[in-house]
């Protein structure tokens, strides 16, 4: 892929201070998103994918804190930006859609006003103009009778409608990058498909890039161009979607795919990944996946594997890809 990336994350480390010690929620993550591209960040609960998204947006709350790394967006280092400058980008050039539409809307504010706020803030519009634009934003996410819905409070809307309203809020200022953190997890299956199609359509219309945080491989296959697989705070595999599904190169990815077979191939019993994800307070030595890995080899429980570059758009953090034992010994 040519040209400069829209978003590029390098060596991102986000820690959470707990009573039991420092939890390395994000431990050296590298990823990039090209303009207009749809990229997935996949992994099981607690692997650090949401923390990565919040770190990029700089929306972490104490005790979570980004301690190292670089987040370049449209040529600026977000982590070095003044809070006021970051605020100007947030909700304007880079916007976020959240997981649970029930709790991410303010219950005491009219839906239209919650959208208008962002427009008034970034576009310098009067509240009256912004309200008008908010109705248009609601129309753009295919909400019927947008003028009525704009005057409603969140509790008067269904879950799907609320998620549409949250999306309208995020796209109101036509962001270059949309970060969606499990946008369909809290919704009914039928509504999930509608929301994903809506996101895909908006992305085409606005030319926005999408960073989709999800654990649903079905969504990844259908809506994304590239995918990063995350495990225990690290990226373990990165590939174009087709290549990843055809030939996963990391045992964890293979296990994930086996656990999420398409319906027509579903067997009597789903393949679960044995064991528990490791504690991020004290990750196991060597490869973090080795205690659960069926393909474990000699150095796995001793040396942490680097991210091996298999081809320009393909990496995997696994000793199976060491070209020689010397390669393994070198790191």
């Amino acid at each position: 892929m040519a040209g400069a990336p829209l978003l590029s994350v390098e060596g991102l480390e986000t820690h959470i201070a707990t009573h039991a010690g420092t939890l390395r929620a994000v431990d050296g993550v590298d990823l990039h998103v090209m303009p207009g591209e749809a990229v997935a960040l996949v992994g099981e609960s607690g692997c650090g994918k949401s923390m990565t998204a919040l770190s990029v947006m700089r929306l972490l709350r104490p005790p979570a804190r980004t301690v190292a790394g670089r987040v370049a967006f449209e040529g600026q280092d977000l982590l070095a930006l003044e809070e006021a400058a970051m605020r100007r980008l947030r909700g304007d050039r880079i916007a976020m859609v959240f997981q649970d539409p029930m709790t991410f809307l303010n219950p005491l504010m009219r839906v239209g006003d919650q959208i208008a706020e962002a427009l008034a803030q970034h576009r310098g519009q009067s509240m009256a103009q912004a309200r008008q634009a908010a109705v248009e934003a609601l129309r753009s996410v295919r909400i019927p009778e947008p003028a009525t819905v704009a005057r409603n409070y969140p509790h008067q809307l269904s879950g799907g409608m609320r998620q549409r309203a949250l999306i309208a809020m995020a796209v109101a200022c036509r962001p270059a990058l949309l970060v969606a953190d499990e946008p369909t997890t809290a919704l009914d299956v039928t509504v999930q498909a509608q929301i994903m199609r809506l996101l895909a359509g908006l992305r085409r219309d606005l030319g926005s890039a999408l960073l989709l945080i999800t654990h649903d491989l079905g969504l990844v296959a259908e809506y994304c161009d590239r995918v990063y697989v995350m495990y225990a705070g690290q990226i373990v595999e990165h590939a174009e979607v087709g290549a990843l599904f055809r030939a996963p190169q990391h045992p964890y990815t293979r296990a994930l795919l086996a656990a999420a077979l398409p319906p027509h191939r579903r067997v009597a019993e789903l393949a679960a990944i044995e064991g528990q994800p490791p504690s991020l307070l004290s990750p196991p030595p060597g490869c973090r996946f080795h205690p659960r890995c069926p393909a474990r080899v000699a150095p796995c429980d001793r040396d942490a594997p680097p991210l091996f570059v298999l081809s320009p758009e393909r990496t995997a953090r696994c000793w199976l890809h060491a070209r020689s034992p010397a390669d393994a010994a070198a790191s």
Partner: protein, 325 residues
Amino acid sequence: MGPSLLLYTLRRLVQAVPLVFVIILINFALIHAAPGDPIDFLLGSSDATEEYIAQLRAEFGLDRPLPEQLLAYLGKMLSFDLGYSLRFREQVLTLILSRLPATLLLMGTALVVASLLGILLGAVAARRPYSATDNVATLAALAGYSMPVFWLGQIMLLVFALHLAMFPTQGMMSLRAPREGLGMVLDVAHHLVLPVATYSVYHLALVFRLTRVKMQETLALDFITTARAKGLPEGRVVYRHALRNAMLPVVTVIGLNFGFMLAGSVLTETVFAWPGTGRLLFDAIQARDYPLLMGLFTVLSVMVILANVLTDVIYALIDPRVVYR
């Protein structure tokens, strides 16, 4: 929302009527269960004959059976006749109405000052929990919360009125102060400072602590992250999004506190010789003035009920999720 809110208010008021009736019954029962008799007080230590006592009792209707006394009282209440004060020799209603403005002024000022200040301080403290400012405020609130009103009032008097002579020691107006216009307002305001300060300390501490906790909880909620993700300035996030949500339980407590403040008015008004209903209640209890006591209890109860209805209406105004039923 307009007409339905009005209907809701009316309905809540109608619902309050049986409550007032029950309160009158309880007041009546309570007072007659207490030992002592107004005639004893009227006569004092003078040696009255049995005959004279009986005559007095008949005159005031105290010789009739209890149910009959109650029925007579209820009948009069319906025509707003609260009876005649034995101690002050005046109509109870006239007496209460002449004292009510002073109490409402004192309480209203204290309630507004304490609520506004408590909410503001609570919101500021919640933004930086466990900072030096927060710790000092929390400690001060704890002290204010546990300080007895009568003691605090006397200390205030000693320090600011007697020792520093910054404020008057008692009453609501000076003898030679103007009785109208700005001069009167300033004079009354000068007299208000110490009683309001004494009166509001407890309430201020309570509202502060509640607001602080609720704000901290609210600031951790998901929709606050949404507000920040929109790129809103921190002030708008805190005061527009968080504070309004945190206010819901605070409004309820402020409303409930109205009753406690009325009860507290007895102490404050007595310490500062404030010419309000609290002092009147104190005098009525000392004189075992049944008609005045019952009149006061009834009027004060009605005020507490009205305050609760008002609280419900304000709550409904803030929270669109309230169902008008």
